[in-house]
């Protein structure tokens, strides 16, 4: 059995779980305007940013100097998770602990920044560390150095499914008794002009400007896309025996993981939700659970026209006659869409729902859509005992990834 014994978050809702819990309970979005003048060079003028984050509060200047924001957020969140777990890493058998980190765009901020310098100035002005610190796998290296994890440290890059896959891999390694501990999570820092602009070009970001907190409207008929978010979240996973032996606090059990690929289209999900349905079934089978056991589903819920419609189709297919009874919500309007790190923060959302007995809401839900006709916990959190929670995330390339959390 795999259990969660540590949580570390650096999110738009603040550092630590308190801010996230408060925002979920109140149904309050962390979105703010990109430009305070209200005018933006992009069609979208909003994002969920991590405010007042000063990495030198946690790390020395010389250690953070070459890190991208993605790495800085990730290293701090991973350190907070280990601190929260009260694990003494110096006492852990170094071949029995691994680290899996997810990200979708990694250090693209540094790449774009240096590309601008290259075009405007001269190649001698380029940062020589670009190939070292900006490649997509740099954060897992930085986290391993910061924590001293020497057995394995791997970056998983499967788009918005990255976090779920990183967490899932840790789950599988502990389940197979290959290791006792896995530090798993994800980090993302996509609030950069080129990324915002290109997502605007694809038409997946909401252009409902003027009130950032009300922009993202999953499953509502008037939805027009998501708001980008940045941040990182990490979990310490342990085998139950290992956690019990050291008297660790256990937040929840990570009971199952299922993933697959639509192999259908790079952006559009399979119209009949075949892959998502299969990933859910796999995750439930790994957990030894059935559909009727599910108390809450944290959906991918990006608020794009296609995702929410197809995700609803997939849920109906996977949940059968239980579909209309299972509470489903998207918390992306509250935290923003953290791309590869979404699943990490949403894994924390699931553990909070289990630990605090409530259903996180889908805020900004205003108009029922005949294509999205399930129970979406509209606008207000609901008190409810949650024993089993699913977290679903899907990435570009048709990657579907589902985690199952269970009360311990």
């Amino acid at each position: 059995m795999v259990v969660v014994t540590g949580i570390g978050i650096v999110a738009p809702t603040g550092l630590g779980t308190e801010g996230l819990l408060r925002s979920l309970r109140k149904g309050e979005s962390a979105a703010t305007e990109l430009s305070s003048s209200g005018k933006s060079v992009y069609p979208a003028n909003h994002a969920c940013r991590v405010q007042n984050f000063n990495p030198t509060d946690f790390l020395s200047f010389k250690n953070i100097r070459h890190m991208t924001r993605c790495s800085q957020l990730g290293v701090v969140a991973a350190k907070l998770a280990v601190q929260d777990s009260a694990l003494d890493l110096s006492q852990v058998d170094s071949v029995r602990i691994e680290m899996y980190e997810g990200t979708s765009i990694g250090g693209m901020d540094k790449i774009f920044q240096n590309h601008r310098i290259f075009l405007e100035k001269d190649y001698t002005e380029l940062d020589p560390h670009v190939p070292i610190s900006a490649f997509v796998g740099s954060a897992s290296g930085e986290i391993a150095i910061a924590l001293g994890v020497r057995c394995r440290s791997i970056t998983i890059c499967s788009g918005s499914a990255s976090a779920n896959d990183a967490i899932g891999l840790g789950f599988e390694r502990i389940s197979s008794r290959s290791v006792d501990i896995a530090i798993v999570g994800a980090s993302e820092a996509p609030i950069i002009p080129e990324i915002i602009a290109s997502f605007c070009r694809t038409g997946v970001i909401s252009t409902r400007n003027g009130n950032p907190k009300a922009a993202c409207r999953p499953f509502s008929k008037d939805r027009d896309g998501f708001i980008l978010g940045e941040g990182a979240a990490f979990l310490v996973l342990e085998s139950r025996e290992h956690a019990k032996a050291r008297g660790a606090h256990i937040y929840a059990e990570l009971a199952g993981y299922g993933s697959n690929c639509d192999a259908y289209h790079m952006v559009t999900p399979h119209p009949e939700g075949e892959g998502v349905c299969f990933a859910i079934k796999r995750a439930l089978a790994a957990a030894g659970l059935v559909v009727g056991d599910i108390d809450y589903v944290n959906a991918h819920g990006t608020a794009t026209l296609t995702n929410d419609k197809v995700e609803t189709v997939a849920f109906k297919r996977a949940f059968g006659s239980f579909a209309s009874q299972i509470p489903i919500s998207s918390t992306k309007p509250i935290t923003g869409h953290l791309l590869g790190a979404s699943g990490a923060i949403e894994a924390v959302v699931c553990t909070l729902a289990i630990n605090h007995s409530f259903l996180p809401p889908t805020i900004n839900y205003s108009e029922p859509d005949p294509d999205c006709d399930l129970s979406y916990v509209p606008n207000k959190a609901q008190e409810k005992d949650v024993s089993v929670a699913l977290s679903c995330n899907y990435g570009f390339g048709g990657k579907n990834s589902v985690l199952v959390f269970r009360k311990c």
Partner: protein, 98 residues
């Protein structure tokens, strides 16, 4: 004697004032007073221990200093200087023998 020492001290201070912005610029050290935990460059600052300067940056730093002070560093000699005051003294020495 004392007069010579004063002249040397003042030369070193002059060199330090000229060197400091080069280090700050090259290593992109934020100078925002809000960031209280960012290191201040002093004579005692250690390039490796305090600033994390690596081999690539050492080359850049040497090239920038040579350009600024119109001197030629001996790379082997330069690589042994870790503290700012050691670099300042080395620059002073090279300038004197130019």
């Amino acid at each position: 004697m004392n007069r010579d020492r004063d002249i040397n001290t003042s030369k070193c201070e002059e060199i330090f004032d000229q060197l400091k912005p080069i280090v700050i610029g090259l290593l992109k050290i934020p100078q925002n007073p809000e960031f209280k935990r960012y290191p201040e460059i002093t004579m005692q600052t250690d390039l490796i221990d305090d600033l994390g300067v690596d081999s690539v940056e050492t080359v850049d730093l040497v090239v920038s200093i040579e350009r600024e002070f119109k001197i030629k560093f001996d790379f082997k000699e330069a690589a042994s200087k870790r503290k700012i005051f050691q670099i300042v003294e080395y620059i002073a020495q090279l300038k004197e023998h130019k």
